[in-house]
Each structure stands twice: as structure tokens, then as C-alpha cells.
């Protein structure tokens, strides 16, 4: 990086011509795609004349459902980048057997760092946050989350983080320190450029957003439940949302602290994690994994919640062992804080410490095993329907236990000594995150999509997508277990063992099939939108659902429920349908207060992005102005008194009666017709 001086430095910090990606054709292409993609989207929106619609209906919306959908849009966009990066790395390893391949080492280092960072913080986190946002308030019979504006602020901080990762593709180079950013390698002595700074501020934005999300969700579940919704009547997805939120509250701050201390090292020459002057990177490892391990349960628990809903709905049966599943979820949440040291068994601590943390890790296997058995027993004596959601869930069951097996192996310190830092570990955590986390999210996406948009997703493309993801995963990662056992280190840009070639070629094929799976998701969306008139489910209950989110129209009104439901049972909606009280007009309707739109969150997001960008490039005025603007937005907002708007009771009643009239004119369908055009979202009772 060239030093900038004088007025330029004052205005533009360290930004210079060198920051542009013309040093390598691959980087230039990547940057061009980002720039052209952004410009193309802007042109398209202008051409369609949709800026106003986008601004007033979506970007400034405080509706939890729309915020949830925007989170998921972000997750799918970033998933595309993450998968493309994965395929680039797979291709490099397939080509680079005793040959340098096509990616230089430095570029390869950036790729595995952005891939990990993006997949965790901008795919997995937004996906689960989006699903919880959309589903949880409806499941508990609430009109919105407790703090709608805070919800939007979380979203826009996350978007700012994602935008900063995208900017890093165009200006400057990203860190090569991996998603965990271990110092001293990420200290300025070893990476003087902007890479680790990008990584630090990207994570900071995202982790603050997630902390606020956790607070918001937890308070919502505590305070906003409909009458009769006792804790032991909460749908399991809401339970997992609660445990995940609590984990977010306690686990995200250590990350924020770890990256902040690293920033102090890099910006102010402090010595928290440096080699010399009393710095100790072991402290970083502890702080990071104090976040990092609960984080994997933040990711997996909501997926467990989705599977619980899917298994019970598509076997048309009550969830087996509800309380057991709740206790198991809570046990996992608590235990997740007691195992972080297993990420560095090889750091030379005493064997009794390793053994204690190893056993603690294995303990998590107990509640996880119980969950798997409880889901099997949910399917047992059911009437299983092989929907796309259920296919994802079944693939999860079969593949996740293999990941569990390798997890137990990694939890055994002496075994960990030989497979730690190898691709065996890479295969293990992808085994947990793809069949576990991602399949859960995709199952949930297929499951709740009709509720969000009022039409079902195309079944055929859904199946093709599921098959591609399943097969692609197996091909891409099972070979890595083998080469990992043979000692192949992770993050290798070049491979020197020719005998690995067939495995790496298989993995490459798997990567391409996963890419096809991703493509299928988008084709499915496209096909479904084009055929939406054949797949509409306006009544709102396409799967004979069991919990409250199916008790309202699809898409639901802004205020979710015409009248707040009275909950009498765990499967609240099934209970209503069985008693014929699901679709009755209310005695009387009330005015409903809903939050007005607000540009505050967008302003905070933009200001935070500017501030972070300024910090990355040492453009100090921009950093200060950005931070000041974010706080100013908060202060300005606090003077706004008129934050709510009232929807009059008459309007609510009219909408409700209209919906009920539609239902009266609708034929209820049996589950055999679930996928036919005749299913408009009214389920035959006791089918």
C-alpha cells in the first residue's frame, strides 16, 4: 500500500489508486460484478419506477414481517457470493495438485476469509434472524416485536456490515486471517494493510446488530405472548428462538470486545494480542471462542425449531416429547457456554483442562441425540407427506448424525490433536452447518414462503434444489473427511500429495452440484412467481399448520391478527380447527396501534457504514461524521412524538369479514390435494 500525503491524506485517508483491483484479472472481474450488479439494480428500480414503493413499503418499514423478509433477501444474496467463493476455492484445490493452480496464495487467503465471514455473519445470522422475525411474533400471537424500531436498526447495521464486505471486493484487499481472525497474524506487524480492518469493522457492525436483535426477540417472547400462551405452550420454534436470543445477548459482546481490542492494537499500537510487550494471543482465542462456540448453537437452534415444526406438520401429528425437546434446547443453550476451549485443545494446556472441556462437549451430544430421537418418534405413526421442507429435514437427520459422530471424535482431545486444523475439521463444521443450519433455513423458507407472499413455491424445482444440495454436500465434504484423516491442512492453496487428486476432484464436483442447488433455488423462485396465480393460498393455511402463524391470511395483514387469539393448547391452531372456532367473526373489534414507518434505521445504517469505511481507510473526518450522524439520528428520533398510527376497528372488522367471506366460498382440501391448484389454504379438518 502506498502512503498518501498532504491534503489527499486528510480527505481520503489511505485510499489511493492502488486500492483498485486492477492488480489481478480475477479481482477485477469480482469487483466489476459488484459494481455492475449494484448499478444494474439501481437502473432497474429506476426504470420500473419503484424507488418510492421500495422506500415507503420496505426500506423504512418497521413491520417485523417485512424486516424478516429483507433479512432473508440479504442472506440469499450473500449466500450466492459465499457459494461462488466456495466453488472458486474447490476449483483451486482441484487444480493445484503439485501445481500453483489459478489463484495466487494471497487471493486464496482472502477467499477463505471472506467465505467464512460471509457465511456465518451474513448468511446464517440474517437467515435465522429473518425467519425468527417473520415467524415468531405470529407464533406467539403478537402484532409485532417489542421494539420495532430497534429491529430495523439491527437490520440496517447488518446490511451495513454486508455492504462493507462487498466494498472490500472493490477497494483494497480483505484480511487473509480467516473468519476467526487469529492474532498475531492479524496484527499490523504481519498484515499492515486494510484487510483485517475491514474484517474488524464488518464484524463489529454485525455483532452489535445481533446483540440488539437478541434483546428484542427475548423481550418480545417474554412480554408479547397472546392470552393463554404459557411458556409450555410456545411452539418449539419459538423456544429455540428464545434460547438463541439469550445466547446472542451473552455471546455477541465477547466478540465485540475481542475485535475492539484487536482494533486498539492495530490503530493505537496497544498490545493486547501482540507477540511482545505483554500481549498474549491466547486471550484472544478465549474471547473469540467464548463467542464462537455459543454462536454455533445460535445458528443451529432455530434450525432445530424449524425441523420440529416441519416434522410435526408433515406427519400430521403432535410433536413427540415436547417438554423433552424444550429441556434439551435449554440444556444445549447452557452447555454451549462451557465448551469453548475445545477449539484449541492443541494450545498446550494441561490434560485435565482438555479432558474437562472434552467431556463438557460430549455432554451436548446427549440433548442433541434426544432431539433426533424425538423427531423420529414424531414421524413414527404419523402420516408422512414428502414435501420439500420434509425432504430437507430428512436429509438433515441422516447427514447431521454423521457430523455428530465426527464432532464427538473432535471432542476427544487426543483425536483432535491429529485432525485439528485439517480438512477433517472443515468437513465436520460444514457437516453441521449445511445439513444442520442451512437445510433448516431452507426447509423453513419453503415452509413459510406461502405465508409471507400468499403463494406456494414450485414443488418440482424445490425437489431438484433439495437433491442438488444433499448430493452436492455429500460429494463436496465426505472426501474431505478422508483427506483430513490423511493430514491435509485446511486453507491449503497448493497440494503436494497426488493421491488426494480423486478426492479433491469429487469435492469439486460436489461444489458444482451445490452451485446447481443454489441456482435451482433462484429458478424455483422465478418459476413460482410466474405461476403464482396457480399456487395462491390466500386463506393462509396451505400445510394444515398447527401453530398460530397459520391462523391468519397469507400474506398476513400488517397487524397479523384481526383479534388477538386465545390460546388453549400447544398446537393452538389445530385445537381451534378441531373445535371449528378457527374462522369465526369476533364479538367486537378494537383499534390497533401500529408503528409508523421510520427512516431513522436506514440513516443509522448508512452513517455506520460511512463511519466504518472511514475507520478502515483512516479517513478520520468520515469516521467521526458517520458516528456523529448515527447518534444524531437517535437523538432526532427521540423528539418524534407521533410514532404510532391507529388502524380503526371498523377497518379491521371489514378486512376480517372479507377474509371470512372468502373462506366461506372456499373448498377445504384434503392433504392429497396439497400440491394442487385447489389448495388455496383451507385445510379439511381432521384429515
Amino acid at each position: 500500500m502506498t502512503e498518501t500525503t498532504g491534503l489527499w491524506h486528510l480527505l481520503m485517508g489511505n485510499l489511493s489508486y492502488d486500492a483498485l483491483p486492477f492488480y489481478s484479472p480475477i479481482a477485477t472481474v469480482g469487483a466489476s460484478i459488484v459494481v455492475l450488479g449494484a448499478l444494474g439494480t439501481a437502473v432497474l428500480i429506476t426504470w420500473l419506477g419503484k424507488w418510492k414503493y421500495l422506500w415507503s413499503e420496505w426500506l423504512t418499514s418497521l413491520d417485523h414481517k417485512r424486516i424478516g423478509i429483507m433479512y432473508i433477501v440479504l442472506a440469499l444474496l450473500m449466500l450466492s457470493r459465499g457459494v461462488i467463493e466456495a466453488v472458486m476455492m474447490r476449483t483451486q484445490q482441484a487444480l493445484a495438485i503439485q501445481s500453483p493452480g489459478y489463484l495466487p496464495p494471497d487471493h486464496f487467503g482472502q477467499l477463505f476469509s471472506t467465505h467464512g465471514t460471509i457465511m456465518i455473519f451474513f448468511v446464517a445470522m440474517p437467515f435465522l434472524t429473518g425467519l425468527i422475525n417473520f415467524v415468531m411474533p405470529q407464533q406467539i400471537g403478537a402484532r409485532d416485536v417489542r421494539f420495532p424500531l430497534l429491529n430495523a436498526i439491527s437490520l440496517w447495521l447488518t446490511v451495513a456490515g454486508a455492504a462493507l464486505v462487498m466494498v472490500s471486493l472493490v477497494l483494497g484487499k480483505f484480511s487473509t486471517g480467516g473468519w476467526s481472525g487469529y492474532p498475531p497474524y492479524t496484527e499490523s506487524a504481519y498484515q499492515p494493510g486494510v484487510g483485517p480492518d475491514y474484517w474488524i469493522w464488518v464484524l463489529t457492525l454485525s455483532s452489535i446488530g445481533s446483540t440488539l436483535t437478541g434483546l428484542n426477540f427475548a423481550v418480545t417472547i417474554y412480554k408479547e405472548r397472546a392470552p393463554g400462551m404459557r411458556f409450555f405452550r410456545l411452539p418449539l420454534f419459538t423456544w429455540t428462538a428464545l434460547c438463541t436470543s439469550i445466547l446472542m445477548i451473552f455471546a455477541m459482546p465477547p466478540l465485540t470486545v475481542a475485535t475492539a481490542l484487536l482494533a486498539l492494537d492495530r490503530y493505537l499500537d496497544m498490545h493486547f494480542f501482540t507477540n511482545a510487550l505483554g500481549g498474549n494471543m491466547m486471550n484472544y482465542a478465549n474471547l473469540f471462542w467464548l463467542f464462537g462456540h455459543p454462536e454455533v448453537y445460535i445458528l443451529i437452534l432455530p434450525a432445530f425449531g424449524v425441523f420440529s415444526s416441519v416434522f410435526s406438520t408433515f406427519s400430521a401429528k403432535r410433536l413427540y416429547g415436547y417438554k423433552s425437546l424444550v429441556y434439551a434446547t435449554m440444556a444445549i443453550a447452557v452447555l454451549s457456554f462451557t465448551v469453548w476451549l475445545h477449539h484449541f485443545f492443541t494450545m498446550g494446556q494441561s490434560p485435565s483442562i482438555n479432558a474437562a472441556f472434552g467431556i463438557a462437549t460430549m455432554l451436548i451430544g446427549i440433548p442433541t441425540g434426544v432431539k433426533i430421537y424425538d423427531w423420529m418418534l414424531t414421524l413414527y405413526r404419523g402420516r408422512v407427506r414428502f414435501s420439500v421442507s420434509l425432504l430437507y429435514s430428512l436429509m438433515f437427520m441422516l447427514l447431521f448424525v454423521i457430523g455428530g459422530l465426527t464432532g464427538i471424535l473432535l471432542a476427544t482431545p487426543p483425536v483432535d490433536f491429529v485432525v485439528h486444523n485439517t480438512v477433517f475439521l472443515v468437513a465436520h463444521f460444514h457437516n453441521m452447518l449445511i445439513p444442520g443450519m442451512l437445510f433448516g433455513m431452507l426447509a423453513g423458507y419453503q415452509f413459510w414462503f406461502p405465508k409471507a407472499f400468499g403463494f406456494r413455491l414450485d414443488e418440482t424445482w424445490g425437489r431438484i434444489g433439495a437433491a442438488c444440495w444433499g448430493l452436492g454436500f455429500v460429494l463436496a465434504f465426505m472426501p474431505l473427511y478422508v483427506t483430513g484423516l490423511e493430514g491435509m491442512p485446511r486453507r491449503s492453496q497448493e497440494i503436494f500429495q497426488p493421491q488426494f487428486a480423486p478426492y479433491l476432484l469429487l469435492a469439486e464436483l460436489g461444489g458444482l452440484i451445490i452451485l446447481a442447488g443454489l441456482f435451482s433455488l433462484f429458478v424455483q423462485l422465478w418459476v413460482s412467481i410466474r405461476r403464482r396465480d396457480h399456487n395462491r393460498v390466500p386463506v393462509g393455511d396451505p400445510w394444515d399448520g398447527r401453530s398460530l402463524e397459520w391462523a391468519n391470511p397469507a400474506p398476513p395483514p400488517e397487524y397479523n391478527f384481526f383479534t388477538l387469539p386465545q390460546v388453549e393448547d400447544r398446537d393452538a391452531f389445530t385445537w381451534m380447527k378441531e373445535r371449528g372456532v378457527a374462522y369465526l367473526p369476533a364479538q367486537h373489534y378494537e383499534d390497533i396501534e401500529m408503528p409508523r414507518n421510520s427512516a431513522t434505521a436506514v440513516a443509522i445504517g448508512v452513517a455506520a457504514l460511512l463511519s466504518a469505511f472511514g475507520l478502515v481507510w483512516h479517513i478520520w473526518w468520515m469516521a467521526v461524521v458517520g458516528l456523529g450522524a448515527a447518534w444524531a439520528a437517535v437523538i432526532v428520533r427521540s423528539f418524534v412524538r407521533d410514532t404510532m398510527r391507529t388502524i380503526p376497528a371498523s377497518e379491521v372488522e371489514q378486512a376480517h369479514r372479507g377474509w371470512l367471506r372468502e373462506i366461506a366460498a372456499t373448498r377445504a382440501v384434503s392433504r392429497d390435494e396439497e400440491m394442487s391448484a385447489g389448495n388455496v389454504g383451507l385445510a379439511e379438518s381432521a384429515s
Binding site: Y182, Y190, G404, G470, F496
Partner: protein
Amino acid sequence: MVRDRISLRSLPQLLCVIGGLVLVLASAGCALQGNGFLNPVGPTAEAERQLFFEVTALTLIVVVPVLVLTPWIVWRYRRGNKQSAYRPKWEFSWPLEILAWGVPVLIVIALGLLLWNRTLRLDPYRPLSAALPPVEIQVVGLDWKWLFIYPRQGIATLNELVIPVGRPVHLTLTSDTVMQSFMVPNLAGQVYAMAAMKSQLNLQADRAGEFLGENTQYNGKGFQKQKFRTRAVSEQDFSRWLEHVQETGKRLDCDQYAGLMKQTLVPKPVHYARAEAGLFEWVVKKYQTEPSPACQSLTGESARD
């Protein structure tokens, strides 16, 4: 109904493909005969391999029922099969509950005992033999190479670790750069090397041969090439090799060492006849004290011990 038939035809096929692949890969893995701990040459890797299989076997007790019963359950209780029982309200059974918690609990107790016992026994810091004195070797992780100092013999090598067969070897490791992780998979598991700190590893080779050694912790653009050759040779060959190095090798003094601290790759192993005594201690100390001592001052002093 049409939907059911399509899906049910494709599902078992998919499962078979997945299962088949797993088996093929697993069996192929055993035939790889490579550099991994599955082909152990020393007692540590041997014990680690045994533990690997024991833990796998025990865990399969909870895994196999899932792999077998899940496809069976969804097949038998598919919506198309009207013969099977349907209990939409059934949600709990004490015997099954006890089984669901009990089996994992028992397995984890068994695994926990095994883990405790073996973790203490296979502690990398624990000497391998009380009777035989180990060969002492100091290891310095550098960008992107490994320096091995034989303090008793006064020699050093770069990117080549030579050890006598049948004798325990005690390694003391540190790093003169970012964190690295040292592993010779055929002999023993890995341990981190960190600046300002010393870690330890005990290993032993039971037969002669050449093994791959590597750094597994990413440390920059030369990382993938940071490999070294480990040669296990007979006692006689070891003595002969020591003599050979002492006669022909270069001198490793503070100036030479300063060159090694640069980020470089070493194409071929280098041998040093005379390594500055106390070099290793200096590498550790220089990060511990402020201001850092000069190389000469410390290596000169500790030459006495």
C-alpha cells in the same frame, strides 16, 4: 397421490446414493496409505488411531439406529400407506423417553471415562518412557520454515527433522513469528508454537522411514509450502548423521539467524554444524522483556549451561 409416488421413488434412491458414497469413501480412505495417523509409525499416533476407532464404534451405537430407522419410519408411515397405524395425538411415552435419554447418557459416560483416561495418558507433555532419556530438540517456527536445534549436539537443521528409531524424542517449541502448529501425523498429533511461550511434544518412531511434517495453522502466503521432512534412522545412522552435519554444516550464529527471520521459503533442508547455544532461549525471551535483548548478549551468556 401422484406426488407421493414420485417422491417415494426418488427418496430411497437418494438415500442409497448417499449411503453408498459414504461407504466407498470410507473404505477408499483406509487404502490411501498416506501421511496420516491412520498409518502410525510411533506409539502416540498408534494410540491416537486406536482411540479414533474406539470412539467411532461407541458413537455408532447412537448413530446407526437413526440411519436405519429414519428411512424405515418415513417409508412405513408415509401417507400413501393406509395400513400403518396413525396416532395423531400420541406425544409421549415414558419407556421411550427413558431410552431416548438413557442410551446417549450411557454412551457419553462410557466416552467420558475413555476420554479422561486417554487424554491424561496421551498428554503431549508426558514423557514417553521413564527409562530411556529422550533426544532433546528445540523447534522454532519461522515464516515459512521450521528450525530444529539439537542443543546437546550443538547442531541445527532447517526443514529437516532427523530422529533415531526407538528412542523417545522431546520437542520444545516456540515461534518467532505468528502462531504455528507443528505436526508429523505418522508420529503424533499437533501442538501450537507461540511466540514468547514454550510448548512441548513427545514423540517416537518405531521404524525407520521418511515422514511428512507440516504446519497446519495458516500463517500467510507461504503456508502451504511449510512442510518438512522427518527422517527416522537407526541409532548408528543417527550418530553418523550427527557427525556428518558437525563436519560439513554451516555455522548458525546471530547474523545467520537474522536472515531466517525474513519471510522466505527454503527449497532444500539446510544443516548447521554449530548452532549458537541459547538461541532458542533468546527467541523466547526477546518477546518477554522490554527492551528485547540483543541476540549476542543472551546466546553468549547461556552458553555456559
